[in-house]
Symmetry: C2
Subunit: 462 residues, 2 copies
């Protein structure tokens, strides 16, 4: 039972579709249309009739069985009590995957869990898979599929985001839009009655549109399965997990929230470490790392070079690099190449200080030389906003040089400054070059890439 149709359905039906703004069955139709899904969209609702959404008219089929063509995915929005019958009909129709938005199942207690189990049995009988229930939907940007009631305008990119929490998941979708984090997919897995985190990892393992996977997790049901899959997938792609409930009191609060016992946190820590999973402690840290891990190639060695125009931020980045165990390239003979791009009072020692006078030419030359040098394996470009060089111009220089070099090395950028600095950071992130407003965040993200890479290399030898 492949779950390909969850990401690349040829047609989607919304069961419980509505023409009334404010309804979930309206929001999902609207997102499907406005995000540009190119397959067929069908509206299903026992009320029948006709509805208009985003300027498009839809005939409303009273049952999915009335839809004249094949349906790959049925997004189910009807109240819980009608779900069993709808699933039966979906089975008869030959639907492949069922994202069940509706809530009112396992999250309410034992009785709800039993109903959930029956839904799964029915679905499997017909060869269907269930996502959820109790979810906000699914996004897959390469297929222009946004079957959620979250924000419409997700930025395409290479990060797959999986969330167990619905409310937080939607909020994080918004965050990625604001912060220009490019996504391949957003999956709300909710109650995990059938498909779970491990299934998503297995799909993204071979998905060429996904470079890294970020999971917000409250607990796993089958720890052994998850670890096995995570370990295998980590050999190909980095996995970042936010797992709340680290502290004793936090774990208690989590237990009363999800109903599932979170388990001793140290067990998660050990399991993640063994599986190559990077555990992020905060949302910000997770997305910081994800930017770098989803967009950049693996390094070919340990030598990191820091280019900067500010002594202060150079020192701060060096502190962070040393604390993170990154190796700053030390070969003064070779570093001398940067002397061509700085005034006499600059320093080509690593961190390479191009000085506050560094303009477009200095950065262009230095970035190009660093990208071309075979022994410089990863680069951190730092810039403190000055009157000499508009940060947006710096962004264009870095993009041009990086593209010209064939994107073969990891590169991270940090720009400290005001509104223009923020715009420059957005420009870089939109082009898949990880950029941050603080030097330490750039360095720590590069370090996360090295941590994953080193785990992989060590594990490969075993």
């Amino acid at each position: 039972m492949s779950i390909e149709a969850l990401f690349k359905p040829k047609s989607v039906a919304v069961v419980g579709a509505s023409g009334k703004p404010g309804k979930i069955g309206y929001a999902i139709m609207k997102n499907l249309i406005e995000y540009g899904y190119e397959g067929k969209i069908y509206a299903v609702n026992v009320k029948g009739g006709e509805i208009e959404i985003s300027g498009r008219k839809f005939q409303v089929y009273k049952s999915i069985l009335d839809v004249p063509d094949e349906v790959d995915m049925a997004v189910i929005v009807v109240p819980a009590k009608f779900v069993p019958q709808v699933i039966e009909e979906c089975g008869k129709k030959g639907v492949k995957v069922l994202p069940i938005i509706s809530s009112g199942f396992g999250e309410l207690g034992e009785e709800g869990k039993k109903v959930e189990q029956q839904l799964v049995e029915t679905a499997h009988k017909y060869g269907m898979r269930i996502l959820g229930p109790n979810i906000f939907g699914i996004v897959y940007t390469p297929a222009k599929l946004n079957a959620t009631f979250g924000p419409t305008d997700v930025m395409p990119g290479k990060l797959a985001l999986v969330s167990q929490s619905g409310a937080l998941g939607i909020a994080l979708m918004g965050w990625t839009i604001l912060e220009k984090v490019g996504l391949s997919a957003v999956v709300s897995i909710g109650n995990k009655s059938d498909l779970d985190d491990a299934d998503m990892l297995e799909y993204f393992e071979d998905d060429e549109n996904t470079g890294a996977i970020l999971i917000y997790m409250e607990g796993v049901k089958d720890g052994r399965k998850f670890m096995e899959v995570a370990k295998r997938v980590s050999m190909k792609k980095p996995i970042i997990i936010i797992k709340a409930g680290r502290s004793e009191r936090g774990a208690k609060a989590a237990a009363s929230h999800t109903g599932s016992l979170a388990g001793a946190d140290s067990i998660y820590t050990a399991a993640f470490k063994q599986s190559g999973v990077l555990r992020a402690l905060t949302i910000g840290e997770a997305f910081d790392w994800a930017r770098t891990l989803s967009n950049l190639p693996e390094p070919e060695g340990d030598n990191v070079v820091i280019l900067t125009n500010g002594g202060g931020i150079g020192v701060m980045a060096t502190d962070a690099a040393e604390e993170e165990g990154l190796k700053l390239y030390d070969n003064l003979e070779e570093l001398k190449v940067f002397a061509n791009h700085m005034p006499p009072f600059g320093s080509y020692k690593n961190p390479v200080d191009l000085t506050g006078m560094a303009g477009a030419e200095a950065y262009e030359g230095a970035v190009r030389d660093a990208l071309a040098h075979p022994e410089m394996h990863a680069i951190a470009v730092l810039y403190c906003q000055t009157a000499v060089l508009d940060p947006r111009d710096l962004a264009e220089i870095v993009i041009r040089e990086y593209e010209a070099s064939g994107r073969k090395k990891p590169i991270v950028v940090a720009i400290v400054g005001g509104i223009e600095a923020k715009e420059a950071i957005d420009i870089l992130n939109e082009r898949g070059i990880p950029a941050y407003p603080e030097p330490e965040r750039a360095i720590k993200s590069l370090s996360a890439l090295y941590r994953w890479y080193n785990w992989k290399m060590k594990h490969r030898k075993e």
Copy 2:
């Protein structure tokens, strides 16, 4: 020799004023005018004539001695070689303070340091004080004074920012505008030939417009003096310091950057701790703390209450609180008051989960009750963006309730979400209520307030 005139000059002369955009002597005139300085502004330049800036015409005096009125502050922008003579003239004129923007002194080596010393001797002979040289200027928002060549539109507020690094200082001014950090002052102290960090601390100690002080420091000259002053000032107002060069390699890079030996980092750590100084490791952390420390009153006890609409972010905040050693209020009898503002499946245990259904009324009631309760000493309001409540409306609710309560307790806010969430965060910060895009950042900032407060309480007893 009071330095009052550095912050509240009755009149300012720019020596080296220029009518040409791109020149520093133009930028400073422009900022003085456009930021709304209400005292008299005089342009001085050996070239004489007349210049027009921001629609205002200025007669250019060939020497400060020609200015017909008294001059409190002379901002000096002329090349280094002319500075000695200018200072002599300023002395004769009866100027009180001299921010010397010009570079080309101590930062070039021993000879420059000697010249600097002579400048200071001349100034002191006339009862004048020098800020700099090698600085970008000074801002004091209550006097609408922006005598810098940095950004114009600094947001007024209660944080005093002092930077040893010029480039980073200007970049940080931009950052505060972008991130809505309200400032009372920005002081570039550069080479510290006369006035230094300790002098600034002493001024801000009694400045009613300043609630907290943030210093970016590369090294101190007189460690004993600094510590004594910092310890005394910390009893009244919190001091946050970013001191780069923590790591061995970072310290080396700092030494080659500033020329001054940074000294063993552990000495700084110990000295800061003893003086009640909060050491921030990154720019982001420093400003996060500064928001809370500059705007909020001291707590009257240890009991923290977390209000949230999302189980997930509630758990994350609880983890952070426990790790930071904050005490979550535990009295279930009293916490029951929140049951009035949640559906039956909510939880009034701390973290108080108002549930994803929480709208305006729920938050209004819960925030009001928490502010009113005598045993709830500090409050963290968390919100995960949902369709039920626009985050901007939440911001207005928190502002209204906090103002109505008389701003007597510390309160921090975290809102996770997209563009509306960011707008809500900005609205809160503009009104002096610290708000963050992540629960942990709110909690850690509240914890910084408690660290300072606890140091002060302990020290007071000694």
